[in-house]
């Protein structure tokens, strides 16, 4: 690592004269059950070095055989990103030495990738912006190096080869992103799409989604690209934004004083919030790619491609538009509900169980979202099942339950996992719709408060609200508010 560099502080006036140019390289681990070129399990969290074989250990003579499912998943991802699937692609060897790469080369794709020329649209300040996808290709993951946590970690690295050979796709964007915010938005879209496709769990903490960024700066209005650096170690959405912001400032400061950017790989240090140059010797950037002689060219027949296309699930953007059209939801609600597949599925399960879409959207995005957030839970782990929330919403629609009662009931459902009916009967919370019962309570209140009755009858109709309050209090909020109004008017009329 290089020596500490002074963190640049750029005046806005200088920063505004430059624009950043960012491209992302995103690695996504595919959810195949076995590795890309051998039958070893891809399960995360198994004991170290317990899922290996001659192929992924790189033992002499072992030969790779491509996993069909990995190709299918990669095709799904490529299609969702609007890429063209190449009928013939090829694997290539990327040669470099690192202990977590036992063969001394990674099998990847180089000049003939699986797919190219795609795009996705992101939203920037309320406007849609198209970001080009250069390519989506297949490759194998490397193993995991552990540099810390062992008694002799100051002189040894520890290697776990379970991850070696786990299928990956690399998604390379065009340098179309102009700010850390745009990069964040792009990555969010990408992740949502992958989750909808169910080709990856995109868990950044477990490393199933990894991001490298190519960053350069240039004067606003210039068309030539500046010298770029590659920033690595961006292992969360927040770090991605912070690292990019830092790197952009660093480059502007250098360029603005007339100095040159060094083309290099830089590591982001999240503790210090800065990037560091890596010594070029550590990674010689001469990979000597050549066609992988142990694998045939990958042929995608029309039939295979069409099969995959037919199996594509509904994608977030299409689903959002359908929600607006079919359920008459506002654009904002539809976007919120389709932000994750799990949430959208949950919402649709409720609607299918015959709840009003608008009501369901309000409760899912409002009260339920609040309870989930308080409990630190994701929708997948919601203690309130979709069918049970639908049950509660039906009671609200029928006005058996008021909105206010509904909130209390939902909170109880959330903590107990019970249905609305169960909660209500255990708490005696059912709404009172019996006119006679309400009238009886009303008469009690009227006879106990002759002064207020007289005020009301002499024309001070504002007293009416006071009576409503008394009645709701007496029934612990369970009386049907509409009935309360009707009954009180009648009883007070005398």
């Amino acid at each position: 690592m290089s020596k500490l560099e002074t963190a640049p502080v750029i005046p806005d006036e200088v920063r505004n004269r430059y624009e950043a140019v960012i491209g992302l390289e995103v690695h996504v681990q595919l959810l195949a059950r076995s590795k890309i070129f051998c039958a070893c399990s891809t399960r995360f969290g198994d004991p170290p070095n317990s899922n290996t074989c001659p192929v992924c250990l790189g033992l002499p003579g072992a030969l790779p055989v491509l996993n069909r499912e990995a190709v299918t998943m990669a095709m799904k991802a490529a299609m969702a990103l609007n890429c063209t699937i190449n009928p013939r692609s090829r694997f290539a060897r990327k040669n470099y030495f690192y202990p977590d790469l036992p063969k001394g080369y990674q099998i990847s794709q180089y000049d003939e990738p699986l797919s190219e020329h795609g795009w996705i649209d992101i939203e920037v300040e309320g406007k849609s912006k198209r970001i080009g996808i250069t390519r989506v290709h297949l490759e194998e993951d490397a193993g995991k190096s552990l540099h810390e946590g062992f008694p002799d970690s100051n002189e040894k690295s520890y290697i776990d080869l379970n991850r070696t050979g786990v299928p990956l796709i690399e998604i390379v964007s065009e340098p179309d992103l102009r700010s850390p915010g745009e990069a964040y938005e792009y990555l969010t879209r990408l992740k949502t799409i992958m989750l909808y496709l169910e080709v990856s769990d995109c868990n950044m903490e477990e490393g199933s989604l990894r991001v490298d960024a190519n960053v350069s700066v240039r004067p606003v209005g210039a068309s030539a690209l500046g010298t770029k650096t590659e920033v690595k170690n961006l292992n969360s959405f927040r770090f991605l934004q912070k690292a990019l912001a830092y790197e952009i400032e660093r480059q502007i400061e250098i360029v603005d004083r007339g100095a040159e950017i060094t083309q290099e790989t830089r590591l982001y240090d999240s503790r210090e919030g800065r990037t560091y140059g890596m010594r070029s010797k550590e990674f010689a950037h001469d990979y000597r790619y050549f066609p992988e002689p142990d694998l045939l060219p990958l042929v995608i027949t029309d039939m295979w491609r069409d099969d995959v296309r037919r199996s594509m699930p509904e994608l977030p953007e299409v689903r959002r538009q359908r929600f607006m059209r079919d359920y008459a939801l506002a654009a904002y609600d539809a976007a919120q509900l389709t932000a994750s597949k799990a949430l959208a599925d949950y919402f649709e399960d409720i609607v299918k169980a015959s709840a009003q879409p608008k009501l369901a959207a309000n409760w899912v995005l409002g009260e339920l979202a609040y309870l989930l957030k308080e409990a630190g839970k994701e929708i997948e782990k919601s203690p309130v099942r979709a069918a049970n929330l639908a049950g509660l919403l039906q009671l609200i629609e029928q006005e058996t339950v008021s909105g206010k009662m509904g909130k209390d009931i939902l909170a109880a459902m959330f903590s107990s996992g019970k249905t609305a009916r169960e909660v209500m009967s255990s708490q005696g919370l059912e709404q009172i719709n019996d006119t006679e019962k309400i009238a009886a309570v009303a008469r009690e209140i009227i006879s106990a408060n002759p002064k207020q009755v007289e005020q009301y009858r002499s024309g001070k109709t504002a007293t009416f609200g006071w009576f409503v309050g008394q009645l709701m209090k007496a029934t612990r909020g369970q009386a049907n508010p509409q009935l309360v109004q009707d009954v009180l008017k009648k009883e007070l009329a005398g």
């Binding site: 690592m1 070893c40 399990s41 290996t52 491509l66 069909r68 499912e69 040894k156 520890y158 027949t301």
Partner: protein, 100 residues
């Protein structure tokens, strides 16, 4: 001779080989003669020849793809049995990153 000692050292470096000065001097003409021979092949006009990067050929379909069915292979003990410096559960190697 088109090749330089610098090229020899660079190639050796990429291959993780440590060459002595004598070896650099010995390998330089050898590598150079190989490249000179390859250059002779470059004189051939291959404008109308389809590049053949591999001896394998593109079949109409993929004859050999694997189903996504995991199977156990090596136990952890077997996997580590050839490691030059085995440690409990891991391969142990000289430190690969520099620490401050």
């Amino acid at each position: 001779m088109a090749l330089t000692e610098k090229d020899v050292r660079y190639v050796a470096d990429l291959a993780h080989l440590k060459l002595t000065e004598d070896e650099v001097a010995r390998f330089l003409p050898q590598l150079d003669s190989i490249l000179t021979y390859m250059q002779k092949l470059n004189q051939l006009d291959t404008k109308n020849v389809e590049p053949m990067a591999q001896v394998t050929y593109p079949a109409a379909e993929n004859p050999a793809l694997r189903l996504d069915a995991p199977q156990p292979a090596f136990s952890q003990k077997e996997a580590l049995s050839n490691a030059p410096e085995p440690a409990a559960e891991y391969f142990k190697v000289p430190l690969v990153i520099e620490k401050e």
